[in-house]
Amino acid sequence: MKSIRKNPIILLFVCLLSSCIHNLDFNQVEDLTAEPVFKSSLVYFTLNQITFFDRINSLEIVTPISQNSKFLSLNSSFVRNNLVKVQLDFEINNQFDRDFNVTFQFLDDNDAITHSLQTFNIDANNLKYLHNEEIMVANNQLFLSSTKIKVLVQLAPSTSGSVIDPNIEKNLVFKTAGTFFLKT
């Protein structure tokens, strides 16, 4: 009988069993980093002439009008650990024959300001006012406590003495989008 030890199939198994995986380091996975960037629409509104006109007294409202609204809570540990920067893009369409001043603020649960952007001065009939603003989180830790946004819109006084007519359809269209830069 042929000796099993001399059988080539044994060599095959030896070859197979001696197969190996060379010079691998699975701990490299700990070095994996990701820097995803997410874009999303944020808040928007459209205001017409009626908003700025007191029908009862037939007077323009030139004091700032404001509104608070809930916003994304940024106070999670994931955001705290990984959010690097937020870029806000503003696009404002002013169909009024009047200038506007718009202020955009972030507030915490107690309505305290956590971050305030510069006031936008929007000229009359500027149909595409563009602005973007970056918030570096490392320099604005308070920003992460934001839970609300506050918008103040002020109709600038007329320089020509003209008064807005609430019966004419004209809008102030306010759009924003955010770009969130993360690093994990």
Binding site: L16, S18, V43, K175
Partner: protein, 469 residues
């Protein structure tokens, strides 16, 4: 990104390094009239009186392969930044790349010659089969975000995977019709133990320039379906009962049936055609079901800051929590439902075909079971074709082979296999018999066996039988 490295390696290697063509047993198919070839072609010819597999060791196969990546691409200790390697890999993979994993362990395997024309074979084996495609859009959008290309459409149809763990009780017959033709069939009773699948999904995320805001995001026609059996509890938590899982390989309520058919045809004494179709069948899963469906559409263009036009002094305070409202609206538009409805899982059907030309020193049939007294040649060459039905498309492979009978009891086979992903796959197989003790070993992609990390595929099969001539 902190993650347990072991978990990551397992998940990543299995899911993303994308192995393929693992079930193609091109080395086993038609090789040396071994008993085990009857499982790849029930119409294969046999030339022995009786065989019995060594329980648990008569046939073991482990297959894993890569359509695009290798382990070395990521984990070779080459001082290259891991994130760079990861990004390079993501850049190479597409939604057509996949992981494919298959193991088969024969618990019992036996057979006997009923008469000169018929050989009966039967047995029981366990099989674990999984294929998962790379969801390219989803992985890239999670890793990179949508910042670089906000308008890119993300397709949920790329979610495709299917896995079964089952026991197969089978019995087959190989029947010699005449001196030229041998046919065979095998009946299979499947007992499903574990199942997970998701296929025929649809839906997209699309972003366009909006009217009311800068962007408008659409989640359109989402229709996702996830099926599982034996894996999840009612709370969707992974819950695998080991005892029950093992028991279900043999006698579960998840029953299915299937058949294999095949033939061998001698066109001339030297030219032989063979073919087989395997696993035409299904498993009906009824036990420990946990299915989830998510269906609907939703659109989002941001949070509208409302005001009350009757209040001319200030916008009225808004009491609604907009985020909660938006979340509830999204949930209502895209509801998720869980059910325990039974479902049917079709087995992946395998097709084999081959033409073989034999030449060289001829000898007669070793026994007289073969009425044709057919000639055995010391050499043969040929071509094999293989196909398997898979969720995305049928996969095909072509093999050239050379078979050499060094003696009556020692046979070797060399194969070269080509498919969409690999053009350099060389396999080697040997089959030998010492007395009644038969053993075989088949190794595919032999040149990469010394460093599996660089291999796109690896396949090993071996087994031990007792054969009585």
């Amino acid at each position: 990104m902190k993650m347990n490295s072991r978990t990551f390696v397992i998940v990543f290697w299995l899911l993303f390094s994308c192995f393929g063509y693992s079930q193609n047993k091109q080395l086993l198919y038609g090789f040396a009239e071994m008993p085990n070839t009857l499982l790849s072609n029930p119409g294969a010819e046999t030339n022995f009186k009786f065989h019995a597999g060594i329980p648990g060791l008569s046939g073991l196969s482990f297959n894993i392969g890569s359509s695009e990546a290798t382990i070395a691409d990521l984990f070779l200790n080459d001082k290259i930044d891991f994130t760079t390697k990861f990004k390079n890999l993501l850049g190479k993979l597409t939604e057509r790349d996949f992981v494919d994993f298959n193991t088969k362990i024969e618990i019992l395997n036996g057979g006997f010659r009923l008469n000169k024309k018929m050989y009966i074979s039967f047995g029981l084996y366990q099989e674990i089969d999984f294929i998962g495609y790379f969801p390219d859009d989803i992985v890239n959008s999670l890793y990179y975000g949508n910042g670089n290309n906000v308008y890119k459409t993300i397709h949920f149809s790329e979610i495709k995977y299917k896995g079964d763990a089952l026991g197969v009780l089978h019995a087959g017959i190989s029947y010699k019709v005449n001196k030229k033709l041998n046919i065979g069939g095998r009946f299979k009773l499947y007992s499903g133990s574990l199942h997970l699948s998701s296929n025929n999904n649809s839906g997209t995320i699309t972003t366009v320039n909006g009217d009311t805001n800068i962007y408008k995001h659409y989640l359109s026609n989402l229709n996702l379906n996830f099926y599982s059996s034996g894996l999840l509890d009612e709370n969707n938590n992974l819950n695998i009962d080991a005892t029950e899982t093992i028991g279900n390989f043999f006698l579960s309520k998840n029953i299915g049936v299937g058949i294999d058919v095949g033939f061998t045809y001698h066109y001339t004494p030297q030219i032989e055609f063979t073919g087989s179709v395997l696993d035409i069948g299904f498993v009906s899963y009824t036990k420990n079901i946990n299915n989830t469906s998510i269906i609907g559409s939703h659109q989002f263009d941001g949070v509208e800051v409302l005001f009350d036009e009757t209040n001319t002094d200030y916008w009225s305070p808004i009491n609604k929590d907009y985020l909660e409202e938006l979340y509830n609206e999204a949930k209502a538009n895209v509801p998720s439902e869980t059910n325990t409805n039974s479902f049917v899982s079709w087995r992946p059907i395998k097709f084999n075909g081959a033409v073989k030309y034999s030449y060289g020193r001829a000898r007669s049939s070793k026994e007289c079971y073969d009425e044709t007294y057919k000639e055995y040649y010391s050499n043969s060459v040929g071509v094999q074709l293989y196909a398997i039905t898979r969720p995305l498309s049928t996969q095909v492979a072509a093999t050239l082979f050379f078979e050499k009978s060094i003696s009556e009891k020692f046979h070797a086979k060399l194969t070269y296999t080509a498919n969409d992903y690999s053009m350099s796959n060389i396999g080697v197989g040997v089959s030998t018999q010492v007395g009644i003790f038969h053993m075989y070993g088949l190794v595919d992609n032999i040149f990469n066996m010394t460093n599996l990390a660089k291999a796109k595929s690896a396949s090993v099969q071996f087994g031990f039988n007792l054969i009585f001539d």
